[in-house]
Amino acid sequence: MRFWSRFRSWLRATLWRSRMESEMDAELRFHLQAYAKDLVHSGVAREEAMRRAQIEFGGIELVKEEGREARGVNLLQSLVQDLRYGASNMLRTPGFTGITVLTLALGIGATTAIFSAVNPILFESLPYPHADRIMMISDWQHDGSRLDVTFHTYRELLERNRSFESMAVTKPWRPALISTMQPERLDGQRVSAMYFGVLGVAPVIGRDFDPSEDQLNGPRVVILSDGLWKRRFAGDRTIVGRQVTLDDDLYTVIGVMPSAFENVLAPLAELWSLLQYDTRNITSLQTREWGHHLRMVGQLRLGLNSEQARREFDTIARHPVQEFPRPAWASLEQGLIVNSLQHDVTENVRPALLAVLGAVLLVLVIACVNVTNLLLARGVRRRGEFALRTALGAGRSRLVQQLLTESLLLAAMGGVAGLAVAQLGVRLLVALSPSELPRVGTIGVNATVLAFGLCVTTLIGLGVGLIPALRASRHDPQMGLRESSQRTAETHQRARRALVVAEVGLALVVLVSAGLLLRSLERLFAISPGLDPSRLLTMQVQESGRRFDDDSVRYRFFAQALEAVRRVPGVKAAAFTSQLPLSGT
């Protein structure tokens, strides 16, 4: 309650400043006159009474100043005062200011840049509504690792489960776009009809897939990404209903995804079409519907978690039913794995990112310790100034307030400069990051990152200034004015030495860690791959079109292509392979 009345009083005093001032002035004068009158009544001469009244009252200005302070009006005034003073101080010592701002800029900038990369992966949730309910479902391999599911497994689970709102499967699809321009091989996905429904995103132009279209020999429909729509179709608003040729077949465009859509399962995919697998003939086992090649996602029902879903799948797995017979390789005898999609997408890079974040925080701490040291040294030099101010009546909190304002100002300048560093750093990060880094597209200086930078800057400003401020304001004014005192010099030296030790220690930790990592990298590159890659070229070749449906035609094409390449001057040998060595998955 008292806080509220204080606030109201402060507000009144700030808003109606001049009126309060004149009221206070009138009141004090009235007091003086009343007192003088009393003195006259008791026999003192008029002028003498006025003079005595003024002397006994004390300085009017001092009383007014104390009155203003009691009302709390002074805070805003004093802050503005401090800012001006601090700014002029900084301009007077450009070297010190420059170094401090630069140090802080590097620390804050690097931390902000790393945070912008780490934030979308570690902290933010996936850019879908209900992102925490989207699960990735996989089968087990014999060695315990994960395995893609088969189409019939997906259908059985879809039919029999009670835990999921919706489920979908997806596989990669790389059609060739044939048009008047150069044919282009595109990255895309073949999905079941509910794929976008599971993610909770819908096309911004046109419509989503319809489950009735997801049948064998169903209509050929395709949804484009915003990027592809702008790049190959010039952002044509009448695109819905247009026909495009993909791999010799005519597809109808039915929709375009929003530009903000992030497809974490296949970040490079630019177009989507339906799987249109055969849902009947479950007993014929040599079909693609029984191959393990589909990735499965699902959206949990509200209120359920992944553990409950997994247990339900276990029950389903242990009790096969007649309408869903299973072959030995899709027996589901080990149950299924259910993991949150967010976790799956980020788990590989999480430890590395945490390590990088830790390292950059260490660098920030080093920068802060450095600046604290510099401020302490400067505080020693300004002893005389503080002593004078204390003697003139400044309380300790006033001095601390002034010094903290100065350090906040320094931090603010460092923060602004750090923003430039962060921008540079972010660009560097995006350029250098591996393609497997999830959500690379969202790394940038956005509102969250700026807010983080602001918080860090404020904390640093206060933290860095606190110790020097407390130290500087502690002095007995007499000692400061006398410009001597060995004792305070001693304690100052000790504090600064401790800070230097801390800084060197932290820097060593960072250096040694970096050195060890570089060593590991060096060893990694020194491993012999077992072949001499110095004059090897690789390229991907894919056929496209109806005429290659016939195996013999396809074989003949590849054989002729190989021959032609062998005859190119400069080529010593050429061969085909289905998988390059050291190419990973």
Partner: protein
């Protein structure tokens, strides 16, 4: 004999509150009131009266009203708040 003591801040506040509880007063009147209460044994530094008054008003213990023709501010006590500790 008038004693001059270094009063603690809280003491001055209490005296002011007591003086004001006896009725609305302007600043000079509060001073006289305190002298009355203490039976002239305490002399308040006049310069410290007004900051204390403003502080009490800021914190909400007393309220002030605009003055009359003699341009003074009468002060009265906000009833109820003093007892809401």
């Amino acid at each position: 004999m008038d004693k001059q003591l270094d009063l603690l801040q809280g003491t001055l506040d209490l005296l002011i509150l007591k003086a004001v509880s006896l009725g609305q007063r302007h600043g000079y009147g509060v001073l006289l009131g305190i002298q009355q209460i203490s039976k002239d044994r305490l002399e308040i530094q006049q310069g410290s009266l007004y900051p204390a008054l403003y502080r009490l008003e800021h914190q909400g213990w007393i309220a002030s009203e605009g003055g009359e023709s003699d341009a003074s501010c009468k002060r009265n006590q906000k009833s109820g708040i003093a007892w809401r500790r």
